[in-house]
């Protein structure tokens, strides 16, 4: 119901007069979307000022899931941290672990064996596929087509099973260690992983037919939530969203880490910056990730998966910044160590935070229904925003 305070009662005469004067003022109301709302992927809150169906202003309110990780890690040693940070962005647990260990390895000057690097690439890329499928499918559900969700979860299952074979976990893997991995993967992992990624690619046309090629989907996404290139730059938007706005930026290519320079893959961009382009890029990244996984499994060398590491993982004094390409964008760990077994300070630059901060200007003057489409197309995970 309209807010009691700002309700302006209008009589038909008023309306007629306003219309004759060429204006038709209507009362605005504040619609509180969230923190418990099905379209917000968690406890995200949006204070939306709407006038009828038009969203005049939107103010994201975050922090409902603040768990104080950046402070918490100061009281945990690195092995414990790896299990904490995998809970930041719960859709891409292992991708979160990677930069943390890379930062530590950089500080400690640990060399990671080649096999471990390949394995990390495989894991991270499989995780990327999982994440992208999840967002693509849930976007369908937000637009009202709930069927792709179930197909995506079917596809995810095989990949997730492969990851579970190796790590024992389905979401929170805790698999990386300083200098490599916890242990080598079990027999059958490669076969399962290949099966998983190949299935996804073989069935991509289903998603395409269900959503990308669907006229209603196109109507709902084309030109909706346009994020201009300038705005993406100025808000620090990264990842598939930035690439959907035509910014050719991918840490895997621009600043290759691990062994990404061994593989042949493309960075896809799309020029228009609307929801359609973001999902177009997202779906193509699935293909590229699958190709990377395939190449990595074909070319993986034999050897140990754990380098020579000291017994006590204790970073020397110093500070380091490491960034990687998380499924949602650039994930950076700024690690300051005072020589203890714990970090002195660990600043985490999460992609979702920046991606969400650009929402108010994008949401301005859209429809309420578009708000859902835009929220869904600005891939964010609440744990990643609030940490």
């Amino acid at each position: 119901m309209v807010d009691q305070q700002d309700r302006t009662v209008k009589w038909p005469e008023d309306v007629a007069r306003e219309m004759s004067e060429g204006r038709f003022d209507t009362a605005e109301m504040v619609l509180n979307v969230g923190p418990q709302h099905p379209a917000t992927h968690g406890v995200f809150r949006l204070l939306a000022t709407i006038d009828g169906e038009v969203l005049i202003d939107a103010e994201p309110v975050i922090g409902y899931m603040h768990r104080g990780y950046e402070k918490l890690v100061e009281a945990r040693d690195y092995r414990q941290i790896t299990n904490l940070v995998s809970r930041m962005d719960w859709l891409s647990g292992i991708s979160n672990e990677l930069p943390m260990w890379m930062a530590l390895e950089k500080l400690m000057e640990i060399e990671v064996p080649l096999r471990a690097q390949y394995m990390r690439v495989i894991m991270v890329e499989m995780n990327r596929i999982l994440n992208h499928l999840m967002f693509f499918a849930s976007f369908g559900a937000e637009l009202g087509a709930i069927t792709p969700t179930f197909y995506a979860f079917r596809e995810r299952e095989d990949i997730q099973f492969a990851l579970e074979m190796a790590t024992g976990g389905r979401m929170h893997f805790g698999y990386m260690r300083a200098g490599g991995l916890k242990e080598d993967v079990p027999k059958g992992f490669f076969a399962q992983a290949l099966k998983g990624v190949r299935q996804v690619i073989a069935r991509l046309d289903q998603y395409e037919n269900l959503l990308i090629g669907n006229e209603i989907y196109k109507q709902r996404t084309l030109g909706v939530g346009v994020l201009s290139q300038d705005m993406a730059y100025s808000y620090g938007v990264t990842g598939p969203i930035a690439r959907g706005s035509g910014i050719d930026m991918d840490v895997r290519k621009d600043d290759p880490y691990l062994v990404y320079d061994h593989f042949d893959f493309l960075v896809h961009t799309a020029p228009n910056g609307d929801a359609f382009d973001r999902f177009w890029v997202l779906l193509h990244e699935v293909v590229e990730s699958a190709r990377i996984v395939e190449q990595a499994i074909e070319g993986i060398p034999s050897g140990p998966v754990l380098g020579k590491v000291p017994r006590v993982i204790q970073a020397p004094k110093g500070e380091v910044y490491v960034r990687t390409e998380n499924p949602l964008g650039e994930l950076g760990f700024y690690l300051i160590s005072d020589g203890d077994r714990r970090p002195y300070r660990m600043k985490i630059r999460t992609p979702s935070y920046n991606n969400v901060s650009v929402l108010p200007p994008v949401l301005k003057n859209t429809f309420v229904s578009d708000m859902i489409a835009i929220l869904g197309s600005f891939f964010f995970v609440l744990g990643d925003i609030d940490r």
């Binding site: 119901m1 099905p38 559900a141 637009l143 087509a145 709930i146 069927t147 709902r220 229904s369 859902i372």
Partner: protein
């Protein structure tokens, strides 16, 4: 199928009403189960498997009982009388729709002379209930949903009315039984083109009127959380939302089958098919309609509110108007040999 027990007209009516009153909730249950299962298999799932023993046949019954036993919450700021009344206003019209649907030539509660008119009128009443529910809930989401529903009704009632008018023109009567009897060839096949397009327009309008995807902007569970029914719980929710939805789904399926697919008559006037009882023809057609509507419903995303309106005003209504013109032309100028009635 004459009923030879001698009853006065009033007694007869009461018996028929009792039958309908038991039939409609039953239809809701069976329809709900069918929806569960079809949806699940379309989505590569199994759906309910345990309740009731065999493939979860008891699922909707269990759901219904659960909802009925749940607490009935009325929001503190709600307009309580209206709030409580609204579900009845949604469900009762759904029941009333069944009064004029001929299951067989004589298996009908009342063959009104203005059958189509009655269907269109009653079908629109439910939206009033939605509007009441949305306004009285004292909830912004409910209000949005209710207003969207009202806007949608106005937009999509017109194509329905116009295409129903096409049928009435072709049949030369507004009695539902008369319309079925007029279809030696069902209207969807004959007259060529006109019937098919009218059928598609009618089904689209009916899906919109039931607020089914892709026209479910008024309920849109992922944005305005079932719209007008956000605040409803328990029995009122199940009756105003799922129950009425199922009853409407089957009813509109039956109406479409009656108006365009020849109702209880065989799909083509061919000897052997004439021997199959009309009830079976009717049920087969309704099931088909039901299946297709659910199939489409869960495959497509939903249209945005403005696109929804544009689709109705800029496409469906002009098409229906053209259809009326075409029908008139057909009636006036088509040679007598092409007429099938």
């Amino acid at each position: 199928m004459h009923i030879d027990i001698v009853l006065t007209a009033w007694q007869m009516l009461i018996v028929k009403l009792l039958v309908i009153l038991t039939l409609v909730p039953l239809v809701s249950l069976v329809g709900g189960y069918a929806l569960h299962k079809e949806l699940a298999h379309l989505q590569h799932r199994l759906g309910p498997m345990y309740p009731g023993g065999f493939h979860g046949v008891g699922q909707t019954l269990a759901d219904g009982i659960k909802f009925i036993l749940k607490e009935d919450i009325v929001p503190a700021n709600a307009d309580k009388t209206v709030f409580k009344l609204a579900p009845a206003l949604i469900y009762v019209p759904a029941i009333l729709l069944y009064l004029v649907i001929p299951i067989d030539k004589h298996l009908i509660v009342e063959d009104l002379d203005v059958g189509i008119f009655y269907i269109l009128a009653i079908g629109a009443v439910a939206i009033l209930g939605t509007l009441m529910a949305g306004w009285s809930s004292a909830n912004k989401y409910a209000l949005l949903g209710a207003l969207r529903a009202a806007a949608q009704l106005i937009a999509y009632e017109l194509p329905i009315v116009l295409t129903a008018a096409v049928v009435a023109m072709l049949a030369g009567t507004m009695s539902v039984v008369g319309i079925v009897e007029a279809q030696n060839w069902p209207f969807v096949l004959w007259p060529p083109g006109i019937g098919l397009v009218a059928f598609l327009v009618f089904v689209t309008g009916a899906m919109a009127e039931m607020t089914m995807p892709p026209f479910d902007m008024p309920v849109a569970e992922s944005e305005i959380i079932t719209g007008a029914f956000t605040e409803y719980t328990g029995m009122r929710f199940i009756f105003s939302f799922f129950g009425a939805e199922m009853a409407h789904l089957v009813a509109y399926g039956a109406i479409a089958a009656t108006l365009f697919l020849g109702g209880y008559k065989p799909i083509v006037p061919w000897g052997p098919l004439e021997h199959i009882p009309g009830v079976i023809w009717f049920v087969v057609k309704v099931v088909l309609m039901f299946f297709v509507m659910i199939w489409a419903r869960f495959t497509w995303p939903r249209l945005r509110e403005d696109q929804l309106q544009k689709f109705a005003w800029k496409f469906l209504i002009p098409v229906s108007l053209l259809l009326i013109l075409a029908t008139a032309a057909w009636i006036l100028y088509a040679p007598e040999s092409l007429w099938t009635r």
